[in-house]
């Protein structure tokens, strides 16, 4: 495989706060040190990890710091990370909107960027005029656009409106038109930032399909930034996780997403104890008469097989003597979609101030390979008398199903996303 893009030590520094009279004093200071005294840039050395949630010392931050990686030709690389992790800055540097502070990027072929669809659409001009306008902004020639005009209009599905000013379009139609133009560019490298957020389900599907065609069929390279994990998983062959301007993971899409979700959920708790984790994930507004103190899995690595029981240990504590307490749970996948759940039997009796350890085994779960979260609730009652919850902890633990059979040494077996989450057990009989 040939390298399509190479990032070497890319860093980008931003100054925080307002541009004001102090800026000019910094500028003068910098100019004096660099051009007269021949020293290094005095402001380039300072600057700390770019964590937006915490107050820092310096006025300068590294939006990106020492980014080094290569993208192979034909790869679809998903870039994920929290807001402010540096995803868009990375794309902006690659699409030459802004220059890096240090480092170089080398790329083969034409780069087209879709940081926002419909860039440069003029509201007064018709759809047709805007196709030419937008295409030209993206670097196409008039002849190229004219050749693809019909295809673009057809893909966007706005034929009826094509000679109407774009200001009369719905926002969805504008996005469709914008994406259609970009999708028919023929760059070797396509940079896409969160453009699928608008547009209806049908169009999103169409757009993802188009991007897949582009990478698979035509061997072009795509860099895709999104917070939509479903889209990233469907589309990307590789994933890159950014945090505070640094790469924390580069690998397969699934691993990258697992890594990211885990970071997002528990970024402050990686080294913190189980009690704090429960506290952080607890939903507010419940009486906490009886509450979870700690929740953990019997296996510290959290890896199970399909035919293996998944065992949780819950440490619960009570503020009041209560009887017939039960534990309910929901299991959801990494995109936060519930897969299933259970209602426990009201078998727990607990006295005031007492602590109890409860072991729950999830039997015959038939879950297929993937990563899951478990959310738990403590409560009492039943459907007839009415139910009450004392405590709810969302996404209390994460576990992974990594194989089908504990007794087989084959390890990983392929399981594709589109096959769902459950491995049914079947019997096949030939009747006569």
């Amino acid at each position: 495989m040939r390298t399509a893009i190479e990032f070497n030590n890319i860093s980008k520094q931003y100054r925080l706060g307002l541009v004001s009279t102090r800026t000019i004093s910094h500028d003068l200071n910098r100019w004096w040190k660099m051009n007269i005294l021949g020293k290094e840039d005095p402001y380039l050395k300072i600057g700390e990890v770019n964590d937006r949630a915490h107050k820092g010392e310096s006025e300068y931050v590294w939006a990106l710091k020492d980014i080094n990686f290569k993208v192979e030709q034909g790869d679809v690389l998903g870039i994920i990370g929290k807001n402010g992790a540096g995803k868009s800055t990375l794309l902006k540097i690659l699409s030459k909107v802004t220059a890096p502070t240090t480092g170089t990027i080398k790329a083969r072929g034409r780069i087209a960027s879709l940081l926002e669809v419909g860039t440069g659409f003029h509201p007064e001009m018709t759809g047709r005029e805007n196709i030419f306008m937008n295409g030209a902004i993206m670097g196409m020639t008039k002849a190229e656009i004219a050749r693809k005009l019909d295809e673009i209009v057809d893909f966007a599905g706005v034929e009826r409106y094509i000679d109407t000013p774009v200001k009369r379009y719905s926002s969805g139609m504008t996005v469709r038109l914008g994406f259609a133009i970009a999708a028919h560019l023929e760059p070797e490298i396509l940079v896409v930032d969160e453009v699928l957020a608008v547009g209806d389900a049908e169009f999103q599907k169409k757009a993802i399909g188009k991007m897949q065609d582009v990478s698979k069929g035509e061997g072009r390279t795509v860099l895709f930034v999104s917070h939509n994990m479903g889209a990233v998983r469907n589309l990307c062959s590789k994933g890159l996780v950014l945090e505070n301007g640094q790469i924390i993971f580069l690998g397969t899409t699934n691993d990258a997403i697992d890594n990211y979700i885990y970071v997002k959920k528990n970024s402050d708790l990686l080294k913190v104890d189980a009690e704090a984790k429960v506290k952080k994930n607890r939903l507010k507004g419940y009486s906490n008469e009886v509450f979870f103190k700690e929740i953990f899995l019997d296996k510290s690595n959290g890896n199970y097989c399909t035919n293996e029981d998944i065992v949780f240990i819950c440490k619960i504590k009570s503020n009041r003597t209560t009887e017939n307490v039960r534990i309910n749970a929901t299991i959801s996948n990494i995109e936060d979609t519930p897969i299933g759940g259970w209602f426990g039997d009201g078998v727990i009796d607990i006295k005031e101030g007492e602590e109890k350890l409860i072991k729950i085994s999830l039997k015959n779960h038939n879950l297929s390979i993937g990563t899951y979260f478990i959310s738990l609730s403590l409560g009492k009652g039943n459907f007839i008398e009415g139910m009450i919850d004392f405590d709810v902890v969302m996404m209390a633990e994460k576990f992974s199903v990594v194989g089908f059979d504990v007794n087989s040494n084959t390890g990983f077996t392929t399981w594709q996303k589109q096959w769902g989450h459950i491995l049914f057990t079947t019997e096949c009989e030939v009747l006569d």
Binding site: K92, V97, A99, A107, R108, S113, E129
Partner: protein, 279 residues
């Protein structure tokens, strides 16, 4: 295939990619078309406004400068004299005002997609050319009217310099404009000063008065330093047969324009790479 795109922190000072600008020539024509077509969309008079504006300005000048201030027009009919100045000045000031805000007004596009930024001021200068052409047509109509009604205005061979004069104006306004726009991305102070300067500049240029009314030698030297002076005088001399024409002056303006444009392109090229961070 070798690496075709290399992105690095700083470009060399004189590394201006003219080849790239040429590749984007279709974009230039799209921008020009957009500027012209959209300006008068949803108006009833449409492109007629191109005529109305200079006509009204001429009437206003006739009242204020000709009627009240009684400034000489070198014996020419006032409408003709003022219109000659207005057509040129309007072109220059339109170009200058628009190119000088290139970065600030286009930041939403510049922040999203890359294309050679110089395309935008170039398209401004070009699209204003069309507008100027229409206004020049008005000038010609008025000219013909006065010739037919027996006023003796005699054009001479220097009238053929007109296209060259326009190139000079375009170059000067582009040069000044992109320098100003580069300087105002970070500090906006200049923008405020600038609108004021353009207004004053008109009075320092023989737009509404002929050079012949300036008799003070110091003032004449100062006026000669203004690169616009010779352009306006040459236009009036060629078209209307009055004014002061000198090749030396015109050569000075040409040199000025080339140097200014050179500096402008270099500065603009440097600023365009990182202006998004400071704008």
């Amino acid at each position: 295939m070798e690496f075709t795109t290399i992105i690095k922190p700083k470009n060399k000072l004189f590394e201006v990619d003219f080849k790239e600008i040429w590749q984007y020539r279709d974009l230039l024509s799209m921008f020009v078309k957009r500027d012209i077509v959209t300006q008068y969309k949803q108006t009833i008079l449409g492109p007629t406004w191109f005529f109305v504006q200079p006509a009204l300005t001429t009437v206003m000048y006739m009242v204020v400068f000709g009627g009240i201030a009684k400034i000489s027009t070198d014996g020419l009919p006032q409408p003709l004299f003022y219109l000659a100045g207005i057509v040129l000045w309007q072109y220059f000031s339109d170009c200058l005002n628009k190119t000088s805000s290139t970065f600030t007004t286009n930041q939403h596009i510049f922040g999203k997609v890359y294309f050679p930024r110089l395309i935008v001021p170039l398209s401004t200068v070009t699209s204003n050319l069309v507008r100027m052409g229409i206004q020049f047509l008005l000038f010609v109509l008025v000219y013909v009217y006065f010739v037919v009604s027996g006023v003796s205005v005699i054009p001479n061979i220097y009238a053929l310099l007109f296209p060259f004069l326009i190139v000079l104006l375009a170059g000067l306004s582009l040069g000044f404009g992109i320098i100003i726009s580069s300087m105002t991305t970070k500090y906006r102070d200049l923008t405020i000063l600038f609108t004021f300067v353009v207004q004053l500049w008109m009075y320092a240029t023989p737009v509404i008065y002929p050079m012949s009314t300036i008799t003070n030698p110091t003032l004449r030297t100062l006026m000669a330093l203004n690169p616009l002076t010779s352009i306006f005088e040459a236009f009036k001399y060629g078209m209307l047969g009055v004014g002061e024409f000198s090749w030396w002056q015109l050569a000075y303006s040409t040199g000025f324009m080339l140097v200014l444009l050179g500096i402008g392109v270099v500065v603009f090229n440097k600023v365009q790479r990182s202006f998004m961070d400071t704008v």
